[in-house]
Subunit: 162 residues, 2 copies
Amino acid sequence: MKSPIRPVDDEARAMVRDVMQSARFAALSLIDPDTGAPMVSRIALVEGPDRIPLSLISDLSQHSAALQKTPVCSLLIGEPGAKGDPLTYPRLSLQAEAGFVRHGDVAHARLAQAFLAKQPKAKLYIGFADFALVRFTPLGAHLNGGFGKAYVLDASDLTDTP
Amino acid sequence: MKSPIRPVDDEARAMVRDVMQSARFAALSLIDPDTGAPMVSRIALVEGPDRIPLSLISDLSQHSAALQKTPVCSLLIGEPGAKGDPLTYPRLSLQAEAGFVRHGDVAHARLAQAFLAKQPKAKLYIGFADFALVRFTPLGAHLNGGFGKAYVLDASDLTDTP
């Protein structure tokens, strides 16, 4: 089978930056700890400090329990526009490891501020005790920039070193 | 921990119908057969005959190879509107089993017609030898209709008996 993968170039890096900076939500894929089957949910998502994706998740959600048990997960980031074939719009399939930051943790105030700067409506519930911030440290990614534009990226293409 | 799950009612069934009938794409979550880790990609998706979700997938894609090896997967269906908090819009997290329908299979022509009726731009590539139709037979689902509106559905809530 022929490989459709292209070498990572400046066009690919620009697509990644654009997709990440525009993100307000994502699809989170993980393993259901009860069944071993894959499951996928929508989560809020913004580009956080050091370009590390940042979410706000309720402990009441099924995916929170699953992530706490198995932090390795995948995120689909990048939404199609309203016109034309949705598969011609760039999207990033990210492999990541989730880390929870809770009320009282040293990093919470700074990350909460970064989250609210991009998702101001979350101020209604970010203070609730059962809502935790979650950082998704990238392990690697597939970028699909539209038909025939596929790239494989590593962690260094995806974040800034602090 | 208190359960946020509501009993399935007519409001929930109407949300499922609306989400499915509007769908033009979805996030597909599956297990990467090489690593055992979850992965998620965007696929084209429409409501097919008998309300069974229907996609068109290239054999060159990473998710096609994974689905052929492990057909149990999950789909996130239902997109947010442009305004307000994206998490207030309904979405369906479907557990499903994928079945491939290829050129030459008895059901191909009927399903191709149903797909193109909702996704006409796919006529550019639906005839390619490496593109297969994929039916996702529902096993169950979580419906999230917005904060505090969560439902667990079974297969009978999701499809019509042929």
